[in-house]
Amino acid sequence: MTPSSTLFDKLWQEHCIQSDASGEDLLLIDRILLHERTGAVALEALREKGREVKTPAHVFCTMDHIVSNRPGRTRNEARTPGGDVFISSTRESAARSGVTLIDIDDARQGIVHVMAPELGIVQPGVSIVCPDSHTCSLGAFGALAWGIGSSAAEHALATQTLKQKKPANMRVTLKGGLHPGVYAKDIVLALIAQIGAGAAANHAVEFTGGGVRQMSMEGRMTLCNMAVEFAAFTALIAPDEKTFEYLAGREFAPTGAQLDDALSWWRDLASDEEAVFDKNITLDTDALAPQISWGVSPEQSGGIDQTLPFIADLPAEKRKAAENALAYMELQPGQRLLGEAVDGAFIGSCTNGRIEDLRAAAYILKGNQVSPDVKAICVPGSQAVKRQAEAEGVAEIFKQAGFEWGEPGCGYCFYAGGDTFAPGARVVSSTNRNFEGRQGPGVRTHLCSPATVAASAIEGVIADPREAGGVRPV
């Protein structure tokens, strides 16, 4: 390595077995994560071709995508038609191939990107893949983590490797602090709105700067989680003492003498000061307001107190998409989002379903009632988050305020034919995608932080969390 390598360069080099003439590298994959939606397909396809999982001890499968979120759900319960087949098929495939299965009734169950850090499966410096686009969340630990398709998962399972052309380096520096009412989600939405949904294509993004260091691991995961929403190959953050503290004592994290060895390597995982990035972006977070999406791409977002774009003011190539988006969202150019009536409120998902997200919402919900016109739902990201929220009294605050309290899973984020809101419903949501119909046919999703969801649920209209009875400092 040259003395001017980025963290991404170093992790890539560490895992590169060989390069071929066309510029594709063969990379060693340390950890493979699966879930019942795409994992069963990969394991089944492997079996059909007479292949085996090369290193089952490095493969972890959870049940998250189509399991029911209903409290008291049963072992095969899905809210998607035929979903029970995905669940039982995954269970059988996992047992046959010897991978670690974290089943529906396991105390460790959770959304894959919430569960993997909780169990210490993800660690600084490991390469880790999952047939799920939000695998970039795990780069928050300084891991080389990226989302793949099912065929690539078959390849990784069979060979413990993947072929990949090395992407370029992009640095996003967060300058300034985090202010009350403004969270990692707001920062990343503002970033995507500024640079566009395709901005980091063929780039690995490193988040740096004081703003990142100030963030908890939960905030960092939220930041990295959304990197795929601006087309990044992955995102990563250099590990620090917060990272090591988070991992200490977790089930699959190193211990004893091995931990000492690991720590001495982990502490060196950072970009060199002279490292040159192919693209550099600086975002000043000091003046940032809470953000909310108004359209059908995460790039169609802005400050909650702004007016929606006048179509004529937009660059020519963005106008048609904005017109389509406003038509779908039933909004007018020039109007304010603040005060727009909402029908639904959702807190959960791999983006914002962690304990810190629930605490931020509970701080606003405490002593308040959700508007009678709003269907409000909270789905903790994992059983561990759920237990912790129940132990801290956070769950009770949600329930007292009128929120439904569900079992961990992804259902409400992407509608699989089950859990949803009414067609046409306007929903404030802590999830990652506002695509047309993402949360159900005709549903209009506004992406925002859990604090904004909570404030809006109480008011029954899109509301600024900074004005909703104070906000918990970050």
């Binding site: 077995i17 292949r51 793949i148 929403e229 087309a231 509608y415």
Partner: protein, 212 residues
């Protein structure tokens, strides 16, 4: 995987940026634990008038008489962004789409396409606009011919022939041209992989903690 060498077919312009995989196949349409039976769900949200029925939306490009047998799509930037679901590519392939021409692609979608014999062709925005104009204006949509050996595409419009070249990494091109199974290809390097793992284990034993 079905090899891709040359292909000639009707190209449908679907001129939007950021066409995500939720639009290519909504999650409600992914009904089986397999790779088939997905083409009915292709673009379901746009192609049908109501979410759970099959009444065709006459305004959607693939439902228009001239484009009903399209085998090539022409789109704008960031095609296939969003979810990693490979079902998006399986649905396109089963419907009969052999190539997607776009300004850029979501990276997971692009990799999925190549592994399933669907050719992703990246062209500059101006070239896409040029193709789209001819495709939309013509009463009989011109066919596009793609030659992967030479990495060129050819469109005979009413007035002139348009030839454009595109780029693809050699390894990706080889895989498409020959229909190679990538696992078989990688397994030819298994000795080297085993050596690398042995060294890696010595350097980073804690990663292998669960096997000891």
């Amino acid at each position: 995987m079905k090899p891709f060498t040359t292909h000639r077919g009707i190209a449908a312009p679907l001129l939007r940026d950021n066409i995500d995989t939720d639009q290519i196949i909504p999650s409600r349409e992914m009904k089986t634990v397999g790779k088939t039976g997905l083409s009915e769900g292709l673009f379901a949200g746009w192609r049908y008038l109501t979410p759970n029925a099959r009444d065709l939306n006459p305004d959607f490009i693939l439902n228009k008489p001239a484009f009903q047998n399209a085998t090539i799509l022409v789109a704008c930037a960031n095609f296939g962004c969003g979810s990693s679901r490979e079902h998006a590519v399986w649905a396109l392939a089963e419907y009969g789409i052999r190539a997607v021409i776009a300004e850029s692609f979501g990276s997971i979608f692009r990799a999925n396409a190549i592994r399933n014999g669907v050719l992703p062709v990246s062209l500059p925005r101006a070239s896409i606009a040029r193709l789209a104009t001819d495709l939309q204006d013509s009463a009989q949509p011109p066919q596009i011919e793609i030659d992967l050996n030479k990495c060129v595409l050819l469109m005979n419009s009413e007035s002139e022939a348009v030839i454009m070249s595109f780029q693809l990494a050699d390894a990706e091109r080889e895989m498409l041209l020959n229909g190679f199974d990538p696992v078989d290809l990688t397994q030819t390097h298994s000795a080297k992989i085993e050596d690398f793992i042995r060294d890696h284990r010595i350097k980073r034993p804690w990663i292998y903690k669960d096997e000891i």
